[in-house]
């Protein structure tokens, strides 16, 4: 008894365009918000991926980013703060045929919804999670978030925050997310590529997107996108390639035991062959964790790209298989047979009194 969605029109539909994914709702983010760029990129990228709009569901929680589903002309749910992964799990576990995306923010995913983020990654439900990280609470007007650096001054921390931030990538690694990547709202070509990679991955894909909140945390990621600084401050990860960065590709990262070190490629001490080579297929997450730790290390570039992409069996695939196996092994009983399972007895028409 699978749920069969009504069949699509018989004749082949023309290819979709960006406009096919734009809903008729007025977008209500602040002018200049990074969310606009991400939305536009998603609307451009989905036609390139070639999905049918009616098979796509965007599920969000609460926060600025979570208004995203209203602007996509697909199916969508704007749900409860932090719980989008839970709704997505229920939908995907019962409707594996759908293309399910979660849109969330740093507060939604890592504070109120932290538990659900961990568990969807652990289960490896085939859902793509876009985590818009702006390191601030925007919709509630500017409190510090679980990714804000220590010392962040905000309405709730006038003298600076005192709690250490989460590194979302390391959380995802700890929860054994099978796909982990990072992009930034100012590099749209790369963002589009990451969206495609996340979608192509079978299993939970966590894509952290650095996103500029121009009202409450303007320029938080500027050094990672400004022309003058970005090449020294960012390293783009490429599977199978040595870790090289810098304006003139003059720097690299090598492993010294378990510790990564930034080394110069111009002083003659090290060459390309000495460098750490990126491997997305990192079964135990060891390399992924080293890469994710760059942001906590002084003078290290911020990694953008696919940190990890491993194969793991998907929750809903196993669930479907279990159902199919059970039907195969035991047969599907009639309702009457089910009722009469176990010990039954008859009370005759004319019982002895």
């Amino acid at each position: 008894m699978a749920i069969d969605a009504p069949p699509a029109a018989a004749e082949a539909a023309p290819p979709l365009t960006r406009a096919d994914f734009e809903s008729d709702q007025i977008v209500r983010w602040c002018p200049g918000c990074g969310d606009y760029a991400i939305l536009a990129q998603m609307q451009r990228t989905l036609p390139e991926i070639g999905v049918a709009a009616h098979n796509v569901v965007f599920i969000s929680g609460i926060g600025c980013s979570s208004r995203f589903p209203y602007y996509m002309d697909t199916y969508g749910i704007h749900s409860v703060h932090g719980r989008a992964p839970a709704l997505a799990t229920g939908l995907k576990a019962s409707r594996p045929d759908l293309d399910v995306w979660v849109v969330t923010g740093d507060g939604d995913a890592l504070s109120i919804g932290g538990n659900h983020l961990l568990h969807i990654c652990r289960r490896n439900v085939d859902v793509n999670i876009l985590l818009f990280n702006n390191q601030i609470y925007g919709l509630t007007k500017g409190q510090y978030s679980p990714t804000s650096p220590i010392g962040t001054k905000s309405y709730s921390t006038p003298t600076g925050s005192i709690d250490a931030p989460f590194n979302p990538l390391r959380i995802a690694i700890a929860a054994n997310a099978s796909f982990i990547a990072r992009a930034i709202d100012r590099d749209l070509k790369h963002l589009s590529e990451m969206i495609k990679r996340a979608h192509a991955h079978r299993g939970t894909a966590l894509l952290e997107i650095y996103q500029d909140c121009i009202v409450f945390n303007k320029g938080a990621f500027a050094p990672l996108s400004d022309k003058a600084s970005k090449e020294d401050r960012v390293i783009y990860l490429h599977h199978g390639e040595p870790m090289i960065f810098g304006k003139t590709r003059d720097k690299g990262i090598r492993l010294d035991g378990l510790q990564p070190r930034v080394v110069s490629l111009t002083d003659g001490a090290y060459g390309t062959a000495d460098l750490l080579v990126h491997d997305e297929d990192d079964e135990h997450g060891t390399l992924a964790d080293i890469i994710a730790s760059f942001q906590e290390r002084e003078d290290f570039p911020r990694p953008l790209g696919v940190v990890r992409d491993v194969e793991r069996v998907c929750y809903e695939d196993v669930l479907e298989q279990r159902v199919a196996d059970a039907v195969e092994e035991r047969g599907e009983p009639s309702l009457q047979e089910l009722f009469e399972t176990g010990d039954t007895w008859e009370v005759p028409e004319h019982p002895a009194s």
Binding site: S23, S79, G90, L98, D343, P348
Partner: protein
Amino acid sequence: MTIATRKPVEERTDVVIRFADDSGTGMQVSGDQFASASALFGNDLSTLPDFPAEIRAPAGTLAGISSFQVRFSSEDIHTPGDDVDVLVAMNPAALKVSLPLVRANGIILVNTAGFSAKNLRLADYDTNPLDDSSLDRYQVFKVDLVELTKSALKEFTDLSAREAERAKNMFALGMVFWLFHRPLEHTIEWISAYFNRPGREKFIEPNIAALKSGYVYAEATELFATSYEVKPAPLRPGTYRNINGNSGLVMGLIAASKKSGLPLFFAGYPITPASQILHELSQYRHCRVRTVQCEDEIAAMGATIGAAYGGSLSVTASSGPGIALKQEALSLAISMELPLVVCNVQRGGPSTGLPTKTEQSDLFQAICGRHGESPLPVLATSRPGDCFDVAFMAARIAIKYMTPVIVLSDGYLGNGTEPWRIPEADELDAIPVKFHTEVEGFEAFRRDPETLARPWALPGTPGLEHRVGGLEKADGSGNVSYDPINHEVMTHHRADKVARVATEIPPTEVHGPDEGDVLILGWGGTYGSIRAAAERLSAAGHTVSRAHIRWLNPLPSDLEDILKRFKRVLLPELNLGQLSTFLRSRYLVDVQSLNKMQGKPFTSGEIEDAVRNLL
């Protein structure tokens, strides 16, 4: 195995047996086996399992006693019984806790081996009650069950003394089987199946031997002069099985899945006393039931909403504290107007409260427990078998009206068993489901004029792409709307939709005169106690009427009129008067509340006394 007995046999219509021991010693199993054997024999029956929250509570203590009460009868019965006829007490604490329930001249079978100095001290006995006159009002049978069991099992040399001793519950059960002429076959089959797993097979034969030895011992010894016979009850003809309330809910949900053609999806989180629903549904994968054990109650509610959006018959279940956690997301389900069922197997609260004990104190939570104006249908089950009907009904209403529905059960109904007359599957009504497919003119919140239900438009349907969420929606289109008048209109729509469910409620049955001096009104698990009390009062020549309501929201439309036809209305509830409060405010009727918050159901005697005070 049956052994012809030459001792005198006395016929009884109705017997209550209570098995009591430390938790974790198999007393629930003994009681359950006795109940099953009695059901198969054809008696009507009702059971009351009563156990502590701890898995292995400290041995010998009053707080650690696990007991199982079973009442079986040759007549139609409605409660597990007020007074115990036969108590099986395995130690002093078991005796002390249960003794107040034993009727005068009742039988007490005690395990003398349990009456050590230490156990007497743990049970706060200064002197051994087996040696003084404190049990003179009862027929006491003293048996060293440990020694008898060990000696019966001495040929099983691979068992340690401790392992052999653990079979004493089966020895005791064998004795009680003889006392009441129960056949052993069913329990022998059960033992063979239960221990048939790696490393446990060696316990099959010893347990069967202990059971048979107990039976033979009771027959052979001079201990019992008489045995008792309780004939089959003249139940309505049909095929029966024994069922508890949790299983009843499971069967009702699966039936609703089959009758609607919707696959059943269940997301839950373990909680006493509702976990059995998750366990049982997980065994029905061959009926295409998908279950997910979530990371918490909130996630379970969220997953249930996700699956409802996708077109499943979507269900979650919990108890009070877990329901509290679900409430925020349940409001989203109300706002999204999605069909799903939430079962609450109520227990004593607040907070962790009495996890294994029953109460009806979540009525307010069910009706008012969310934020904003967030009405939903609420209905309550009244007997284990009624859980089937209520679950089926809840699913039907959820789908027809596109609304979440709360089912209130309780720990007493959830764990208690009774014979269930198996329905004819073909005679159950189909549950019509219509997924919206028409693209022309589609609006996500355009309502059916009769039910006010919005269309159920599934993702995957071409041309119906739409967004729904927790923000207020424009009447019709469903687009986000902050318009003040629209919010008021939508608030009314949501309330009116739930109010219209009242048209589904059949006329309230009043048993007894439909007007007069006293009406006993009940809801939920008090059904049996109220019915037994009313029947006893009628038999004693009093004129008493009773009515029991299944629908708590909306209330039956004839209820106000019924209440106003009686001079006095007594409403027994296992809470501080929650339904009474609703009825008084709604109808301005002076409902008198009878309350009990002891983690136990009302005895029929308690209700009878309260009514007599009104007469």
